[in-house]
Subunit: 467 residues, 2 copies
């Protein structure tokens, strides 16, 4: 049975090329339960592989032919082979985090084969500290980063003694989790595709993003709506990229960020931005590549149902995007934080005064920059009005387990695109804020240095806040 | 710069699909040199990755577009990324040969991405006995199994103290080895493509195998030339296959095979066939799937220059194919070996009385069964006149080293195709005969049992020979 692909998902398939794999990734670290035997990881893998029933999302593959008039449709994979999708891997010695990040970089830099369902999961052993890692990779045509995280969370439990829990690709027995899955199935984060289409008057199932959306966005940019009108200087991040990926990740206690926020009257999210700003500033300075004008980040923000008027059934989940001044021209961490805070506030206010149509157009940037960028270019807008994308997606606040294995940390791997070679995505979990940095290895050299800079910057901000 | 792809190589690209990846593989096992440090495998990997200059064969990717009139051409990969091609992997615990074969099965079951040069090499650590493994994968459009083996051999040395040796994909400084590489570059084992084309009067660069070749072959079959006219019964091997692969490999001392040959007046190759025959007989019997009529194997054989009249410059390298009665209807190992010996001899004699054109047509079966099979069907020949392919490729007889690491064994991974779900390829090296069994995991269940059966059969043959 063949089912249609919504145009945005099809857009991700069409926009993908060798330089721009369009999958999102996740790296999870688990602690083996007490008394775990020598074969613990193998058993965990076997259990994940022997999932009785696979959710339909993970069984379908994209397909197009003359009979589908060249349009992509979903088709069940008649030769579905779980061994291809769920893999047991190990790290080379000495099994440090470095080897893990190298493996994730390599896995993230390889495209998913279109002839099979668009996902992979790797259960990884060999970390010398005994932790177990899992790297998952799912095409953006199936889920976005937020949905992928929800999907993972939906199979976890706060109960360390719970067993017989399914894998994320298994079919969940409860109503709640099957709803969760449906949401993932519709893709496009939390803006229902149907609503998006209706709001924008799209009727044809055209491939890729519709022209009407681009026109709205382009008008928004020309009208100099404050959330959009910023000037983004050229940086090394804003070049064509290659398919080579480098991934780096680390987490810091949310409490440290909260304390800075408290002392300076800013939010945790502002502090996240300030850390990124300072780190990017140091990084570009070292490369003698810091532009005079401050960098601009595109930051997806949550909106409540009233603001967006198109929120999902559960409310408050629509996503808009704010252009944030990163104040990278300022050397002083305190002044930088204050500027970011103001810019963020301005942006959110501007956003709330936008029409639903404008907000949706903004959302679309976050959802599909790779599709919009070339279309914007055709509209005479040569480059997007921002230098990099920084997202901050809240996750579970309490300790979670999978069949007794404690989830220690979860790190997102995102999608660099042409003109946007670095993506920073943060997720919070169990008292920690994880930073996941995904970049083109050739365009963003020594990406891992940003981790040191992030750490230094956190210290600078604490000092500036008088902590 | 774009270069044309010869039609046979293009044929491999066109014939490839998700169920039939068209790459050949090789698994090598190395012994670390005395006094190797903890980082030995990493250093070996780094050295292989840091190859100064990559041979052109490994830098080109296939490309087709409207501008190439839909035909495949070779194009240099402008974004060549050695990190994608040369990988450092590790085995999960407990690191037995079983885990190694599982990894190789998985790697061999995944298609090479067309957007990049069509090869991969994995340096694998984590075998509990301390050996180091290397799995390489190269598309059949670049090299065939024999050339791949030669390519590997060309970078090895008999001198354990030699260092600074290049990787197989590196550029060799000596004239001899660069000639070796050119040979690999022309592909199609040792039948020069140009000669093949001329002999068959092919002028157009048609994609896939030419109709003229099929007509010759089809005529050969209908004429009941004895090398061709055997009746092959239907077996479970002769079904449509999936893309799942299982690989099993093991080696036995050549001396044991030689002793049997001596005692029975047969050749080592006959003994190899008899081992395969007995193993397949036991395997099919256990599955209650042994047909009454004996199975037929297609066995590529070397011909000397005079016989083939189209041999390569160095002579004696053209390849023909003989259909061998496997005598699987006989329970007695001695009688089976005798029948195989006679069938092999008949086949070779028939082959030597064929015209060069007929021999070339035969060769083509060995080279491109996946391309020929559908074409044969169009000619009204419903199934190929054999049940499985068994090749025996001689390798180096003496101990070889790569930068001080002793090559302990080398095992070939080949290409199962629709209607031919099991491939057995044997290679000899340093006194051992290695059997590499590559099959579709779903069509050939429990493939690894064949290893036990091979071992048992060798014992039976020894007993039958009075050893």
């Amino acid at each position: 049975m063949v089912t249609p692909i919504d145009p945005t998902s099809a857009g991700f398939l069409l926009a993908e090329n060798r330089s721009m794999p369009m999958h999102v990734g996740g790296l999870q670290l688990f602690k083996k339960p007490e008394g775990a035997g020598r074969n613990y990881v193998r058993d965990m893998f076997e259990q994940m592989r022997q999932e009785d029933e696979i959710a339909p999302l993970f069984l379908k593959r994209p397909y197009r032919s003359v009979r589908t008039a060249g349009q992509y449709v979903w088709k069940p994979d008649e030769q579905f082979d779980i061994e291809h999708h769920v893999r047991h891997s190990a790290l080379p010695k000495p099994g440090r985090v470095r080897e893990l990040l190298e493996l994730c970089s390599r896995l993230h830099g390889t495209r998913l084969a279109r002839e099979r369902p668009l996902w992979e999961a790797h259960i990884i052993e060999g970390l010398r500290d005994g932790r177990v890692a899992m790297y998952t990779k799912t095409h953006h045509a199936l889920v976005d980063g937020v949905s992928a995280m929800r999907l993972l969370a939906s199979v976890l439990s706060t109960d360390p003694d719970k067993r017989n829990m399914p894998a994320p690709w298994g079919v969940r027995p409860t109503a709640r989790s099957s709803r969760e899955l449906e949401r993932a199935e519709t893709s496009l984060a939390d803006v229902p595709v149907q609503a998006l289409r209706t709001a924008l008057g799209i009727t044809a199932e055209a491939a890729g993003m519709p022209g009407a959306l681009v026109k709205t966005l382009s008008k928004g940019l020309r009208n100099e709506t404050s959330a959009l009108s910023l000037y983004a200087p050229r940086t090394i991040f804003n070049q064509s990229i290659t398919g080579s990926r480098r991934f780096a990740a680390q987490d810091w206690p949310v409490e440290r960020l909260r304390e800075i926020g408290k002392a300076t009257g800013t939010t945790i999210n502002d502090v996240v931005m300030a850390m990124c700003s300072g780190a990017v500033r140091t990084y570009l300075t070292e490369l003698d590549a810091l532009p005079e004008a401050p960098l601009v980040a595109m930051v997806p923000v949550g909106l409540n149902a009233k603001q967006s008027q198109v929120a999902s059934a559960e409310g408050g989940n629509a996503v808009g995007a704010v252009m944030v001044q990163l104040a990278t021209d300022l050397a002083d961490p305190a002044r930088r934080l204050a500027t970011i805070h103001r810019s963020m506030k301005d942006g959110k206010e501007a956003l709330s005064s936008m029409t639903p149509m404008q907000i949706l157009a903004m959302s679309a940037i976050g959802q599909a920059p790779a599709i919009l960028t070339p279309l914007l270019r055709m509209q005479g807008i040569v480059r997007p009005p921002y230098n990099l994308i920084i997202s901050n997606v809240p996750g579970p606040r309490t300790t979670h387990y999978w069949n007794g294995a404690q989830l220690l940390g979860t790190y997102p791997l995102s999608i660099p695109i042409n003109g946007m070679a670095l993506n920073i995505t943060c997720t919070s979990y169990d008292g920690n804020m994880a930073f996941g940095l995904t970049g083109c290895r050739r365009t963003v050299p020594h990406l891992q240095r940003l981790l040191t800079h992030l750490d230094d910057e956190l210290g600078h901000l604490e000092k500036a806040a008088g902590l």
